[in-house]
Symmetry: C2
Subunit: 192 residues, 2 copies
Protein backbone atom coordinates (compact mmCIF):
# COMPACT_ATOMS: atom_id res chain seq x y z
CA UNK A 1 0.00 0.00 0.00
CA UNK A 2 2.73 2.45 0.86
CA UNK A 3 5.57 1.34 -1.37
CA UNK A 4 5.79 4.75 -3.02
CA UNK A 5 5.27 8.34 -2.08
CA UNK A 6 2.28 8.28 -4.46
CA UNK A 7 0.34 5.57 -2.67
CA UNK A 8 -3.42 5.32 -3.00
CA UNK A 9 -5.06 7.59 -0.43
CA UNK A 10 -6.32 5.73 2.64
CA UNK A 11 -9.92 6.63 1.84
CA UNK A 12 -11.65 7.67 -1.38
CA UNK A 13 -15.37 7.69 -2.19
CA UNK A 14 -15.97 6.77 1.44
CA UNK A 15 -14.15 3.49 0.84
CA UNK A 16 -11.23 2.74 3.14
CA UNK A 17 -8.94 1.43 0.43
CA UNK A 18 -6.18 0.41 2.83
CA UNK A 19 -8.61 -1.80 4.73
CA UNK A 20 -10.10 -3.09 1.48
CA UNK A 21 -6.68 -4.28 0.29
CA UNK A 22 -5.83 -5.62 3.75
CA UNK A 23 -9.06 -7.63 3.66
CA UNK A 24 -8.13 -9.04 0.25
CA UNK A 25 -4.70 -10.00 1.60
CA UNK A 26 -6.22 -11.64 4.65
CA UNK A 27 -8.59 -13.73 2.51
CA UNK A 28 -5.74 -14.71 0.18
CA UNK A 29 -3.88 -16.03 3.20
CA UNK A 30 -6.88 -17.86 4.66
CA UNK A 31 -9.59 -18.70 2.14
CA UNK A 32 -11.87 -20.10 4.83
CA UNK A 33 -12.78 -16.63 6.14
CA UNK A 34 -14.49 -15.86 2.81
CA UNK A 35 -17.33 -18.29 3.58
CA UNK A 36 -20.44 -16.33 4.56
CA UNK A 37 -24.04 -17.24 5.35
CA UNK A 38 -26.78 -14.62 5.22
CA UNK A 39 -30.24 -15.09 6.73
CA UNK A 40 -33.75 -13.70 6.89
CA UNK A 41 -36.65 -14.63 9.17
CA UNK A 42 -40.08 -14.04 7.66
CA UNK A 43 -43.50 -13.99 9.33
CA UNK A 44 -46.80 -13.89 7.50
CA UNK A 45 -48.96 -10.97 8.63
CA UNK A 46 -52.27 -11.28 6.74
CA UNK A 47 -53.28 -11.55 3.11
CA UNK A 48 -50.19 -11.15 0.92
CA UNK A 49 -48.42 -9.07 3.57
CA UNK A 50 -45.34 -10.52 5.28
CA UNK A 51 -42.43 -9.15 7.28
CA UNK A 52 -38.78 -10.18 7.38
CA UNK A 53 -36.17 -9.49 10.01
CA UNK A 54 -32.50 -9.39 9.06
CA UNK A 55 -29.88 -9.27 11.76
CA UNK A 56 -27.43 -12.14 12.26
CA UNK A 57 -25.06 -13.66 9.73
CA UNK A 58 -21.98 -15.82 9.63
CA UNK A 59 -18.72 -14.66 8.12
CA UNK A 60 -14.98 -14.30 8.65
CA UNK A 61 -15.10 -17.47 10.73
CA UNK A 62 -17.61 -16.26 13.31
CA UNK A 63 -21.24 -15.46 14.08
CA UNK A 64 -21.83 -11.75 13.51
CA UNK A 65 -24.73 -9.30 13.69
CA UNK A 66 -25.47 -6.16 11.79
CA UNK A 67 -25.23 -2.94 13.80
CA UNK A 68 -29.01 -2.88 13.87
CA UNK A 69 -31.80 -5.26 12.94
CA UNK A 70 -33.71 -4.34 9.77
CA UNK A 71 -37.43 -5.00 9.37
CA UNK A 72 -38.67 -5.34 5.80
CA UNK A 73 -42.28 -5.68 4.73
CA UNK A 74 -43.64 -6.92 1.43
CA UNK A 75 -47.12 -7.01 0.00
CA UNK A 76 -48.98 -7.08 -3.29
CA UNK A 77 -50.51 -3.90 -4.70
CA UNK A 78 -54.28 -3.39 -4.64
CA UNK A 79 -54.56 -4.20 -8.35
CA UNK A 80 -53.19 -7.65 -7.46
CA UNK A 81 -55.63 -8.04 -4.56
CA UNK A 82 -53.07 -7.09 -1.90
CA UNK A 83 -53.25 -4.24 0.63
CA UNK A 84 -50.13 -2.45 -0.69
CA UNK A 85 -48.45 -2.15 2.70
CA UNK A 86 -45.02 -2.34 1.03
CA UNK A 87 -43.23 -3.11 -2.25
CA UNK A 88 -43.78 -6.45 -3.93
CA UNK A 89 -41.20 -9.22 -3.47
CA UNK A 90 -40.02 -8.81 -7.08
CA UNK A 91 -39.31 -5.10 -6.55
CA UNK A 92 -36.85 -6.04 -3.80
CA UNK A 93 -34.89 -7.96 -6.46
CA UNK A 94 -34.45 -4.72 -8.44
CA UNK A 95 -33.20 -2.85 -5.36
CA UNK A 96 -30.79 -5.71 -4.59
CA UNK A 97 -29.39 -5.63 -8.12
CA UNK A 98 -28.88 -1.86 -8.21
CA UNK A 99 -27.35 -1.82 -4.73
CA UNK A 100 -24.96 -4.69 -5.45
CA UNK A 101 -23.68 -3.18 -8.68
CA UNK A 102 -23.36 0.25 -7.05
CA UNK A 103 -21.37 -1.03 -4.06
CA UNK A 104 -19.07 -2.80 -6.51
CA UNK A 105 -18.66 0.38 -8.56
CA UNK A 106 -17.64 2.31 -5.43
CA UNK A 107 -15.13 -0.34 -4.34
CA UNK A 108 -13.61 -0.82 -7.79
CA UNK A 109 -13.40 2.91 -8.54
CA UNK A 110 -11.69 3.45 -5.19
CA UNK A 111 -9.20 0.63 -5.79
CA UNK A 112 -8.40 2.25 -9.14
CA UNK A 113 -8.02 5.73 -7.61
CA UNK A 114 -11.05 7.20 -9.38
CA UNK A 115 -13.08 9.73 -7.43
CA UNK A 116 -16.79 9.39 -8.11
CA UNK A 117 -19.17 12.33 -7.93
CA UNK A 118 -22.43 10.64 -8.96
CA UNK A 119 -23.75 7.12 -9.41
CA UNK A 120 -27.47 6.72 -10.00
CA UNK A 121 -29.33 3.90 -11.65
CA UNK A 122 -32.77 3.02 -12.86
CA UNK A 123 -33.83 -0.61 -12.88
CA UNK A 124 -36.85 -1.93 -14.76
CA UNK A 125 -38.16 -5.47 -14.80
CA UNK A 126 -40.83 -6.80 -17.15
CA UNK A 127 -43.09 -9.55 -15.92
CA UNK A 128 -46.14 -11.17 -17.47
CA UNK A 129 -48.40 -12.37 -14.67
CA UNK A 130 -50.01 -15.03 -16.87
CA UNK A 131 -47.23 -17.24 -15.50
CA UNK A 132 -47.84 -16.87 -11.77
CA UNK A 133 -51.60 -16.78 -12.27
CA UNK A 134 -51.42 -20.21 -13.90
CA UNK A 135 -53.09 -18.88 -17.06
CA UNK A 136 -50.23 -19.60 -19.45
CA UNK A 137 -49.87 -22.73 -21.54
CA UNK A 138 -46.36 -22.98 -20.12
CA UNK A 139 -44.75 -20.50 -22.50
CA UNK A 140 -44.82 -17.62 -20.01
CA UNK A 141 -42.38 -17.91 -17.12
CA UNK A 142 -43.28 -16.92 -13.56
CA UNK A 143 -40.47 -14.42 -13.11
CA UNK A 144 -39.06 -11.43 -14.92
CA UNK A 145 -38.72 -11.86 -18.66
CA UNK A 146 -35.96 -9.29 -18.62
CA UNK A 147 -34.36 -6.70 -16.37
CA UNK A 148 -32.64 -3.51 -17.55
CA UNK A 149 -30.26 -1.42 -15.47
CA UNK A 150 -29.17 1.99 -16.66
CA UNK A 151 -26.34 3.70 -14.80
CA UNK A 152 -25.54 7.39 -14.83
CA UNK A 153 -22.00 7.75 -13.52
CA UNK A 154 -19.70 10.74 -13.12
CA UNK A 155 -16.18 11.07 -11.73
CA UNK A 156 -12.66 12.26 -12.39
CA UNK A 157 -11.96 9.74 -15.14
CA UNK A 158 -12.68 9.43 -18.84
CA UNK A 159 -15.69 7.72 -20.33
CA UNK A 160 -13.81 4.49 -21.05
CA UNK A 161 -12.47 4.22 -17.49
CA UNK A 162 -15.91 4.84 -15.96
CA UNK A 163 -17.52 2.26 -18.24
CA UNK A 164 -14.76 -0.21 -17.35
CA UNK A 165 -15.56 0.22 -13.64
CA UNK A 166 -19.25 -0.56 -14.22
CA UNK A 167 -18.33 -3.57 -16.34
CA UNK A 168 -15.94 -4.94 -13.72
CA UNK A 169 -18.65 -4.50 -11.08
CA UNK A 170 -21.08 -6.47 -13.25
CA UNK A 171 -18.53 -9.26 -13.65
CA UNK A 172 -18.05 -9.51 -9.87
CA UNK A 173 -21.62 -8.92 -8.69
CA UNK A 174 -23.21 -11.53 -6.46
CA UNK A 175 -26.78 -10.42 -7.22
CA UNK A 176 -26.16 -10.19 -10.98
CA UNK A 177 -24.86 -13.76 -10.84
CA UNK A 178 -27.84 -15.07 -8.87
CA UNK A 179 -30.32 -13.44 -11.26
CA UNK A 180 -28.61 -14.42 -14.51
CA UNK A 181 -27.52 -17.94 -13.55
CA UNK A 182 -29.38 -20.78 -11.83
CA UNK A 183 -29.06 -20.92 -8.04
CA UNK A 184 -30.12 -24.06 -6.15
CA UNK A 185 -33.02 -23.27 -3.81
CA UNK A 186 -34.47 -25.91 -1.49
CA UNK A 187 -37.84 -25.47 0.22
CA UNK A 188 -38.68 -27.62 3.23
CA UNK A 189 -41.84 -27.63 5.32
CA UNK A 190 -42.70 -28.29 8.95
CA UNK A 191 -46.41 -28.41 9.69
CA UNK A 192 -47.96 -27.61 13.07
Amino acid sequence: MSNTAYATPASINGVDVATLFATLDAVKGQNEIAKFQFRAENTWQTGTHSRSRIHGFYGAGQELTHTHETVLDADHPVVLTGADHAPTPVEYLLHALAACLTAGIANIASARGVKLTKVTSTVEGDIDLLGILGLSDGSVRNGYQGIRVEFDIEGDADDETLRGIVEQSRRRSAVYDVLTNPTPVSVSVVTG
Copy 2:
Protein backbone atom coordinates in the same frame (compact mmCIF):
# COMPACT_ATOMS: atom_id res chain seq x y z
CA MET B 1 -68.32 -17.84 -6.95
CA SER B 2 -71.85 -18.01 -5.58
CA ASN B 3 -73.27 -20.97 -7.43
CA THR B 4 -74.12 -22.72 -4.19
CA ALA B 5 -75.18 -21.82 -0.71
CA TYR B 6 -71.79 -23.12 0.41
CA ALA B 7 -69.69 -20.71 -1.63
CA THR B 8 -66.15 -19.81 -0.59
CA PRO B 9 -66.31 -17.01 1.98
CA ALA B 10 -65.62 -13.58 0.49
CA SER B 11 -62.49 -13.18 2.60
CA ILE B 12 -60.22 -15.69 4.33
CA ASN B 13 -56.69 -15.20 5.66
CA GLY B 14 -57.08 -11.53 4.81
CA VAL B 15 -57.38 -12.49 1.14
CA ASP B 16 -60.46 -11.27 -0.69
CA VAL B 17 -61.12 -14.50 -2.56
CA ALA B 18 -64.01 -13.11 -4.59
CA THR B 19 -61.77 -10.35 -5.93
CA LEU B 20 -58.93 -12.83 -6.45
CA PHE B 21 -61.12 -15.02 -8.67
CA ALA B 22 -62.59 -11.96 -10.40
CA THR B 23 -59.05 -10.81 -11.19
CA LEU B 24 -58.23 -14.23 -12.64
CA ASP B 25 -61.37 -14.07 -14.78
CA ALA B 26 -60.52 -10.57 -15.97
CA VAL B 27 -57.01 -11.64 -17.00
CA LYS B 28 -58.39 -14.72 -18.77
CA GLY B 29 -60.61 -12.41 -20.80
CA GLN B 30 -57.84 -9.90 -21.58
CA ASN B 31 -54.33 -11.31 -21.32
CA GLU B 32 -52.77 -7.90 -21.99
CA ILE B 33 -53.59 -6.61 -18.50
CA ALA B 34 -51.20 -9.20 -17.01
CA LYS B 35 -48.17 -7.35 -18.37
CA PHE B 36 -46.42 -5.50 -15.53
CA GLN B 37 -43.24 -3.50 -15.20
CA PHE B 38 -41.66 -2.87 -11.81
CA ARG B 39 -38.98 -0.26 -11.14
CA ALA B 40 -36.43 0.99 -8.65
CA GLU B 41 -34.34 4.18 -8.66
CA ASN B 42 -31.03 3.88 -6.85
CA THR B 43 -28.62 6.60 -5.73
CA TRP B 44 -25.12 5.99 -4.41
CA GLN B 45 -24.59 7.59 -1.00
CA THR B 46 -20.95 6.93 -0.07
CA GLY B 47 -18.73 3.90 0.22
CA THR B 48 -20.83 0.76 -0.33
CA HIS B 49 -24.00 2.51 0.87
CA SER B 50 -26.78 3.18 -1.64
CA ARG B 51 -30.48 3.98 -1.44
CA SER B 52 -33.37 2.91 -3.66
CA ARG B 53 -36.78 4.45 -4.06
CA ILE B 54 -39.72 2.32 -5.15
CA HIS B 55 -42.97 3.98 -6.08
CA GLY B 56 -44.33 3.79 -9.64
CA PHE B 57 -45.02 0.72 -11.73
CA TYR B 58 -46.97 -0.26 -14.81
CA GLY B 59 -49.72 -2.87 -14.75
CA ALA B 60 -53.30 -3.64 -15.71
CA GLY B 61 -52.83 -1.43 -18.76
CA GLN B 62 -51.91 1.75 -16.91
CA GLU B 63 -49.26 3.64 -14.95
CA LEU B 64 -49.80 3.06 -11.26
CA THR B 65 -48.14 4.03 -7.97
CA HIS B 66 -47.90 2.27 -4.66
CA THR B 67 -49.90 3.85 -1.83
CA HIS B 68 -46.61 5.20 -0.50
CA GLU B 69 -43.04 5.43 -1.73
CA THR B 70 -40.60 3.05 -0.04
CA VAL B 71 -36.98 3.97 0.62
CA LEU B 72 -34.56 1.05 0.92
CA ASP B 73 -30.92 1.29 1.91
CA ALA B 74 -28.18 -1.26 1.38
CA ASP B 75 -24.62 -1.42 2.55
CA HIS B 76 -21.84 -3.87 3.29
CA PRO B 77 -21.08 -4.90 6.88
CA VAL B 78 -17.98 -3.60 8.63
CA VAL B 79 -16.20 -6.94 8.15
CA LEU B 80 -16.54 -6.33 4.41
CA THR B 81 -15.26 -2.75 4.73
CA GLY B 82 -18.72 -1.18 4.61
CA ALA B 83 -20.39 1.05 7.19
CA ASP B 84 -23.29 -1.36 7.88
CA HIS B 85 -26.02 1.22 7.42
CA ALA B 86 -28.39 -1.47 6.17
CA PRO B 87 -28.59 -5.11 5.01
CA THR B 88 -26.40 -6.28 2.16
CA PRO B 89 -27.88 -6.53 -1.33
CA VAL B 90 -27.82 -10.35 -1.15
CA GLU B 91 -29.88 -10.34 2.04
CA TYR B 92 -32.66 -8.52 0.18
CA LEU B 93 -32.83 -11.54 -2.14
CA LEU B 94 -33.63 -13.78 0.86
CA HIS B 95 -36.41 -11.43 2.00
CA ALA B 96 -37.82 -11.33 -1.53
CA LEU B 97 -37.87 -15.12 -1.75
CA ALA B 98 -39.57 -15.65 1.63
CA ALA B 99 -42.11 -12.90 0.95
CA CYS B 100 -42.99 -14.18 -2.52
CA LEU B 101 -43.52 -17.76 -1.36
CA THR B 102 -45.51 -16.57 1.67
CA ALA B 103 -47.84 -14.35 -0.38
CA GLY B 104 -48.43 -17.30 -2.69
CA ILE B 105 -49.17 -19.58 0.26
CA ALA B 106 -51.78 -17.12 1.56
CA ASN B 107 -53.46 -16.76 -1.83
CA ILE B 108 -53.46 -20.48 -2.62
CA ALA B 109 -54.65 -21.51 0.85
CA SER B 110 -57.46 -18.98 0.59
CA ALA B 111 -58.50 -20.18 -2.86
CA ARG B 112 -58.60 -23.72 -1.45
CA GLY B 113 -60.63 -22.63 1.61
CA VAL B 114 -57.85 -23.39 4.11
CA LYS B 115 -57.61 -21.03 7.07
CA LEU B 116 -54.00 -20.40 8.05
CA THR B 117 -52.96 -19.63 11.61
CA LYS B 118 -49.18 -19.37 11.18
CA VAL B 119 -46.67 -19.11 8.37
CA THR B 120 -43.09 -18.39 9.30
CA SER B 121 -39.94 -19.11 7.37
CA THR B 122 -36.20 -19.01 7.77
CA VAL B 123 -34.05 -18.43 4.72
CA GLU B 124 -30.32 -19.09 4.63
CA GLY B 125 -27.97 -18.43 1.74
CA ASP B 126 -24.37 -19.66 1.54
CA ILE B 127 -21.88 -17.55 -0.34
CA ASP B 128 -18.12 -17.87 -0.74
CA LEU B 129 -16.69 -14.39 -1.25
CA LEU B 130 -13.63 -15.72 -3.07
CA GLY B 131 -15.79 -15.23 -6.17
CA ILE B 132 -16.65 -11.55 -5.82
CA LEU B 133 -13.21 -10.76 -4.43
CA GLY B 134 -11.67 -12.12 -7.61
CA LEU B 135 -9.57 -14.61 -5.62
CA SER B 136 -11.01 -17.77 -7.15
CA ASP B 137 -9.56 -19.65 -10.10
CA GLY B 138 -13.04 -19.47 -11.60
CA SER B 139 -14.49 -22.42 -9.70
CA VAL B 140 -16.25 -20.24 -7.11
CA ARG B 141 -19.27 -18.36 -8.37
CA ASN B 142 -20.03 -14.76 -7.32
CA GLY B 143 -23.49 -15.45 -5.96
CA TYR B 144 -25.11 -17.85 -3.52
CA GLN B 145 -23.99 -21.43 -3.86
CA GLY B 146 -27.29 -22.51 -2.39
CA ILE B 147 -30.34 -21.12 -0.61
CA ARG B 148 -32.51 -23.03 1.87
CA VAL B 149 -36.02 -22.01 2.90
CA GLU B 150 -37.73 -23.74 5.80
CA PHE B 151 -41.42 -23.06 6.33
CA ASP B 152 -43.35 -23.60 9.53
CA ILE B 153 -47.02 -23.61 8.58
CA GLU B 154 -50.20 -24.22 10.59
CA GLY B 155 -53.86 -24.12 9.62
CA ASP B 156 -57.13 -26.01 9.57
CA ALA B 157 -55.97 -28.66 7.12
CA ASP B 158 -53.97 -31.85 7.28
CA ASP B 159 -50.23 -32.13 6.77
CA GLU B 160 -50.54 -33.21 3.14
CA THR B 161 -52.84 -30.30 2.25
CA LEU B 162 -50.56 -27.75 3.90
CA ARG B 163 -47.49 -29.18 2.16
CA GLY B 164 -49.40 -29.10 -1.13
CA ILE B 165 -50.10 -25.39 -0.67
CA VAL B 166 -46.41 -24.62 -0.13
CA GLU B 167 -45.47 -26.74 -3.14
CA GLN B 168 -47.99 -24.98 -5.38
CA SER B 169 -46.67 -21.61 -4.20
CA ARG B 170 -43.13 -22.70 -5.09
CA ARG B 171 -44.29 -23.76 -8.55
CA ARG B 172 -45.91 -20.36 -9.16
CA SER B 173 -43.39 -18.07 -7.45
CA ALA B 174 -41.87 -15.26 -9.49
CA VAL B 175 -38.86 -14.85 -7.19
CA TYR B 176 -38.19 -18.60 -6.97
CA ASP B 177 -38.18 -18.67 -10.78
CA VAL B 178 -35.79 -15.72 -11.10
CA LEU B 179 -33.36 -17.24 -8.59
CA THR B 180 -33.42 -20.81 -9.91
CA ASN B 181 -33.51 -20.03 -13.64
CA PRO B 182 -31.51 -17.60 -15.77
CA THR B 183 -33.04 -14.13 -16.22
CA PRO B 184 -31.68 -11.79 -18.90
CA VAL B 185 -30.19 -8.66 -17.31
CA SER B 186 -28.81 -5.80 -19.40
CA VAL B 187 -26.60 -3.10 -17.95
CA SER B 188 -26.16 0.17 -19.86
CA VAL B 189 -24.09 3.20 -18.89
CA VAL B 190 -24.35 6.94 -19.40
CA THR B 191 -21.30 8.92 -18.29
CA GLY B 192 -21.38 12.57 -17.22
